[in-house]
Symmetry: C2
DNA sequence: GAGTGGTCTAGACCACGAC
DNA sequence: TCGTGGTCTAGACCACTCT
């Protein structure tokens, strides 16, 4: 089972797949298998090197790959830890709402407006990798800062995975969904991809956000992925375009 | 064997400043000094290691830092090269204009609408690190795809550096400014920082873009930096908000 | 074949964190 | 004091690129 082959004389050194690359894949598998839970330490580098029969530097390169991927985190003097996942407040990085005291980023409050089951669209089934016609859970959610509504969200979750949420009382839900996904469903959000574009609010959406119909808004279409790289959440977020503020660097 | 004992005696091993960190700073200086021009190779890793009297792995770590910074690029089997700078078309990554054949990203055309000298504002002087009241060159520029105007830009450049541009005929300018900065003024754009927000076009701006006044637009406020990390360009770009399309990933 | 960057080894010591 | 990750060494061989 162990990949500890004999010596460098026999390695094919396949182009595109070095030894540390294979080690990274092997370790990633063990993490996904749940051998070490999110937040836990993995064995020391020296121990891993010995158990795989490779040099320390080789195992360090493997770990570096997983650190780059965001699967692992190193802490000098303490150990190497499995990542806990992204923080749920990350949607706020696209906006800077006024009226709220700037400088202090208070955690936004969350209210679930509706929760219902329906069959997945073809697009959703494809994204989630589930069969056409499977069930999904659709949520409408309003996020507020200092009692001021600021973001309106539509969230779609594949049912086999998030069944426990469908049965529970939405009033008892946490303000942050991603940590809750992990606690209640064992789903760790590891990566997100956001598509930003510009749109206008319809009447119903505007009412929720205390704006007028056709008010300009930013549309954020998010796909969230678990540690295995599977898409496990589709989210559409709308917020006042004039509160949009985003910074990006190139090189 | 005994080398480890020797070398450690001379290095203070200052916390927060490793040997490869110092090497990276030293090499960066030599690049900024112009010892190797953008696009040129630097000496081989083995040669650098020998000339600095360090192990190969140490010089490789130093080079890795500069590669991360975008100052250097490695090419297996060929050598390590000084980066040529960012491509000028990078503003297009925020938009997806329709009517133009999608899939093919044609290079947008450029027309300089105006060019004039004026004294820098306090904010500009601060950003550029020049004295208050110094001269700057301000350009208005329209970018078009397939003869359709799509982006309106205001560009401010500090004068001591870009003096040659002020004297030249704007009709003979290139479509891409950054390569031209390098050719004519020896300025290599190495990094950019873009602040995105939403706004509305005034009457004059709208006319240039063939839209109506108060039409929603995306506002991109860019700072561009040279290899030494100095801000050498301030740019404000406006484009139709409905053509805005941007994708970003988290972790 | 010669030269480059990329991988790997085996071992030493340093800096950090907890006990 | 001990265990952890971080730095550094000296030397070997592999894979890519050009001539």
């Amino acid at each position: 089972m162990s990949t500890a082959n004999m010596s460098t004389m026999f390695t094919t050194h396949t182009p595109g797949q070095s030894r540390y690359g294979k080690l990274a894949l092997a370790l990633r598998d063990r993490i996904l298998q749940g051998e070490w839970a999110p937040g836990e330490v993995i064995p020391a580098e020296s121990a891993l090197a010995q158990s795989y029969g490779v040099a320390l530097g080789t195992i360090r390169q493997a770990l570096s790959l997983l650190v780059e991927d965001g699967v692992l985190q190193r802490r000098h003097g303490k150990g190497t830890f499995v990542t806990k996942g992204v923080d749920g407040a990350s949607m706020m990085r696209f906006f800077r709402f006024r009226g709220v005291d700037d400088g202090q980023s208070e955690a936004p409050q969350s209210r679930i407006l509706s929760s219902r089951l329906r069959t997945a669209t073809a697009q959703e089934a494809n994204a989630f990798g589930i069969t056409n016609g499977a069930q999904v859970l659709q949520l409408e959610r309003l996020r507020s800062l200092a009692s001021e509504p600021c973001l309106l969200e539509t969230i779609v979750l594949p049912l086999p995975l998030f069944g426990k949420l469908a049965d529970s009382d939405t009033d008892a839900w946490d303000d942050l969904l991603y940590p809750m996904y992990q606690e209640r469903c064992g789903v760790v959000i590891q990566k997100t991809q956001d598509h930003l574009s510009f749109s206008q609010l319809n009447a119903a959406q505007a009412k929720r956000l205390r704006l007028v119909a056709a008010h300009p808004c930013v549309l954020v279409e998010r796909q969230a992925f678990d540690m295995a790289g599977r898409c496990v959440e589709l989210r559409t977020t709308r917020g006042d375009a004039f509160s949009f503020k985003y910074t990006t660097q190139l090189q």
